[in-house]
């Protein structure tokens, strides 16, 4: 068991960031950790940025993670990935979904949206453990683009195992059970496929 693992999830309202953090906090609990989660969701439905913290540890006090102390980063959107980059601990595990949701400031006020090359180059400056996945493409292949967040959770679970980051035994089945408890019955099979497809996306 590790002393503590600090997660940061970043996305845009409607991408399933909050569901993913709910899953993560419960996976930690199932692994025997103390776990806490904190988010701000006041205006998230209105297309704003959403960030959520999850912490696992032997003892967890603060529900928030201080800047520079994020061990595992999950970004659902590219501009949001960059916005939170400086919260990471050097060498942190970063999983970035290659989705772009252009805010109206890009479509109507002409602000620039960062390109993939810049994104990857900036992350390289902080960590060699950054991985990029097109969650929407994988989910679309399974027939429902909205399962992208579960694809990413699948990838994250495999990455954390690969890096020996969980500190305890956390078989995929535990993740899957916690996910399927949180989705409507008719989407259980889709989410199971999405999670497994996400796991296979790890190269």
């Amino acid at each position: 068991m590790r002393d503590s693992i600090n997660f940061l999830l970043a996305g845009v309202g409607g991408q399933g960031t909050i569901l993913a953090s709910d899953v993560l906090v419960n996976v930690g609990l199932a692994g025997g950790y103390q776990a806490k989660q904190a988010e701000v969701h006041g205006m998230s439905q209105r297309g704003g940025s959403v960030t959520s913290y999850v912490r696992w540890g032997r003892t967890v006090y603060s529900p928030l993670v201080g800047g520079g102390e994020v061990d595992v980063f999950l970004a659902f959107e590219k501009a949001e990935a960059l916005r939170s980059l400086n919260q990471l601990r050097p060498g942190a595990l970063a999983l970035i979904n290659l989705a772009a949701i252009e805010p109206v400031t890009v479509t109507s006020s002409g602000q620039a949206y960062p390109n993939d090359e810049t994104l990857k180059q900036k992350f390289t400056q902080v960590t060699s453990k950054a991985m990029y996945v097109d969650g929407e493409a994988i989910a679309t292949g399974l027939g429902n683009i909205r399962a992208a967040n579960v694809v990413l959770l699948g990838t994250l679970s495999a990455l954390m195992e690969g890096e020996d980051l969980t500190g305890v035994e956390l078989p995929a089945e535990i993740w899957l059970n916690i996910i399927t408890e949180r989705v409507p019955p008719k989407y259980v099979e889709l989410n199971r496929q999405a999670f497994n497809a996400g796991r296979k996306a790890v190269t």
Partner: protein, 599 residues
């Protein structure tokens, strides 16, 4: 049984375990989920009140009638409810009364970050501050006991990070047996009728009460010392305790579960047991100043910020600066220059029924006095059509005041349906009574939108799902004495513009009700039909970009003549509201198929 609960869910659970019978609230982030959750428990009556003052009066009435009661609001709601809060302190009640205030340090979704502990001191009321979900539940139960033991309302002060963080809670048992029946209403005018002759006798009673509570605070189990090293002692409360414990694992900590009144002897003993005493608290130096008044040497806001919320980093870096921690504790940030990133302000959703009105207001170039709700987002470019917004219900009276000051333009006030019920009605009456030609637009989207779709007096449904009589806004407006009133479908761009242009010629108060249910309501979502742009007709004039709809994108294809990008509609976002189709001068955007077949 252990369950992961948010602080809000834990407060609701605590209220239920404590046998609370009546709860009333007005929705407001970060407090909203408390009543939504409590409404699901058996044997609890829970309601949305039109505003927080009504909610507190309702809870007071229930507590006078001998049943445990709760009123819940965000911090600024207590400003609205202050009058009721103050008299409840004077009268006390027959059963426990808990007022929950959810403060919002850092103003994640608020207009200020006032620290409502000051309200407790001001009103002579005890204040409890939980530091996680477990305490949120346990202290809610304790609050009812405290309330009854000392015949006082109790203020539960939560903050965003307590309300919206999740941690493990050991659930207690349900209240046993049948709920108590309400007692006959007390005939005790000396206590419950606050005419001056009675009130003067009550004031010394409540001052003595607070001395008694202060004595009780000396042994209150949630005022708790964690004895550590003697070199540093920390006084702290609420979520700040978690940051303090994390950053100073070895220090001695006195965690105050009751932050008003303070246990003077306990604090004094603690202060004597340590070499250096500091306070770590969010926002005001509330504990710090009280402790200093006790004649104890203490530091607080000279080290930690007065503004915004704390987190482990803020606490640690402030402590390093003050020499409380060695420089080696510093956690460096990566410091990568990420370059300019597009800002992502919250915006009116695709298909939002408010968009068309702001498009017209922007075009008319009138000063617009706004109010609190989703429609405040009419401020964001390119709509840019809100010029003031301060608090719930302010719009109409601010417009009236500007007009009376001789503002040379016609003023428009915009206010949502729920905010109109909340505090807009008296201000509208004022425009009639005191004769000002303010144009009020009531944006009736048939729900309380910003806080996540709560019912309100206009929806015809209660918090606990019962059907009820919907208040008719147009009839209400007429009853206020407004002669010029019109209800228009909110997507009818031309009709809104024509009506407003007519109103601008009048010299009397007028009301336009723009009506259409929020596009995110489940029954409305079923009717979403994405529209399309006929690229051959679009010449890239850019007019549709001016409505600021997230579903309208700039296409990669340029118009051959103007060399400007054509419009493109994101089918995943478009709901088919047709506002863009109505304003397109080249008819290059499709209307919904059903309508097309009609025309």
């Amino acid at each position: 049984m252990i369950k992961m609960l948010s602080g809000n869910e834990a407060v609701a659970r605590g209220a239920w375990e404590a046998g609370a019978a009546v709860a009333s609230a007005y929705p407001g982030t970060p407090s909203t989920e408390i009543l939504e959750e409590l409404a699901r428990y058996p044997n609890v009556y829970a309601e949305w009140a039109p505003n927080e003052k009504v909610a507190v009066d309702v809870a007071i009435g229930a507590a006078y009638a001998g049943r445990r009661a709760m009123a819940v609001m965000k911090h600024v709601g207590l400003n609205v409810a202050a009058d009721a809060f103050m008299y409840a302190s004077m009268t006390g009640m027959e059963a426990g009364l808990v007022i929950v205030s959810a403060d919002d340090p850092a103003m994640h979704s608020s207009q200020n970050e006032q620290d409502n502990r000051t309200f407790a001191r001001f009103a002579r009321v005890p204040c409890l501050e939980p530091s996680d979900s477990q305490e949120a539940k346990d202290m809610t139960i304790a609050a009812f006991g405290l309330s009854e033991r000392f015949d006082t309302p109790v203020l539960m002060r939560l903050t965003t990070r307590i309300c919206h963080s999740t941690s493990a809670v050991e659930l207690g048992v349900a209240p046993d047996g049948q709920p108590l029946e309400a007692k006959p209403f007390p005939r005790n005018p000396a206590k419950y009728v606050m005419v001056p002759s009675n009130a003067v006798k009550r004031h010394p009673v409540i001052e003595q009460r607070m001395l008694d509570v202060a004595e009780f605070a000396e042994s209150f189990p949630y005022n708790h010392i964690e004895q550590g090293e003697r070199s540093l002692g920390i006084l702290t409360a609420g979520v700040a305790y978690q940051y303090a414990r994390e950053v100073f694992p070895k220090a001695s900590i006195l965690r105050l579960g009751m932050t008003w009144p303070l246990p003077a002897r306990l604090i004094s003993r603690f202060a004597e047991s340590v070499e250096r005493l500091i306070v770590i608290e969010e926002l005001d130096p509330f504990i710090e100043e009280a402790v200093r008044l006790m004649g104890i040497c203490v530091e607080g806001k000279s080290i930690f910020p007065l503004v915004g919320e704390l987190d482990p980093r803020v606490v640690r870096e402030s402590a390093i600066q003050a020499g409380l921690l060695p420089q080696s504790e510093h956690v460096p940030l990566p410091g990568v220059e990420v370059g300019p990133l597009p800002s992502r302000p919250p915006v009116l959703c695709p298909g939002c029924p408010h968009r068309s009105t702001f498009y017209v207001l922007n075009k008319l170039k009138v000063p617009v006095n706004g109010d609190i709700g989703c429609y405040t987002l009419g401020l964001i470019p390119p709509l840019s059509a809100i010029h003031s917004c301060g608090c719930m219900g302010a719009s109409i009276a601010v417009a009236h005041g500007a007009v009376k000051a001789g503002s040379p333009e016609r003023h428009v006030a915009v206010i949502g349906d729920s905010t109109f019920f909340h505090t807009g009605i008296p201000a509208l009456i004022n425009t009639v009574y005191n004769r000002s030609p303010v144009i009020t637009i009531i944006m009736d989207n048939r729900v309380t939108g910003m806080t996540g779709h709560q019912d309100n007096p206009g929806t015809g449904r209660t918090l606990q799902g019962e059907e009820t009589t919907p208040v008719e806004i147009e009839a209400l407006v007429r009853a206020c004495g407004i002669r010029q009133v019109k209800t228009v479908p909110a997507y009818a761009v031309k009709e809104i513009e024509t009506t407003l242009r007519e109103y601008l010629k009048l010299d009397e108060p007028a009301v336009l009700i723009t009506q259409e249910p929020c596009v995110l309501l489940p029954e409305v979502r079923k009717r979403w039909v994405p529209l399309e742009v006929w690229a051959d007709k679009c010449n890239g004039c850019g007019l549709c970009f001016r409505i600021g709809c997230p579903a309208i994108l700039k296409s990669d294809e340029l118009d051959a003549h103007l060399q400007r990008p054509k419009a493109l509609i994101d089918a995943a976002l478009c709901t088919g509201c047709e506002v863009c189709a109505q304003i397109c001068p080249r008819e290059a955007i499709t209307f919904r198929a059903a309508e097309m077949s009609e025309t």
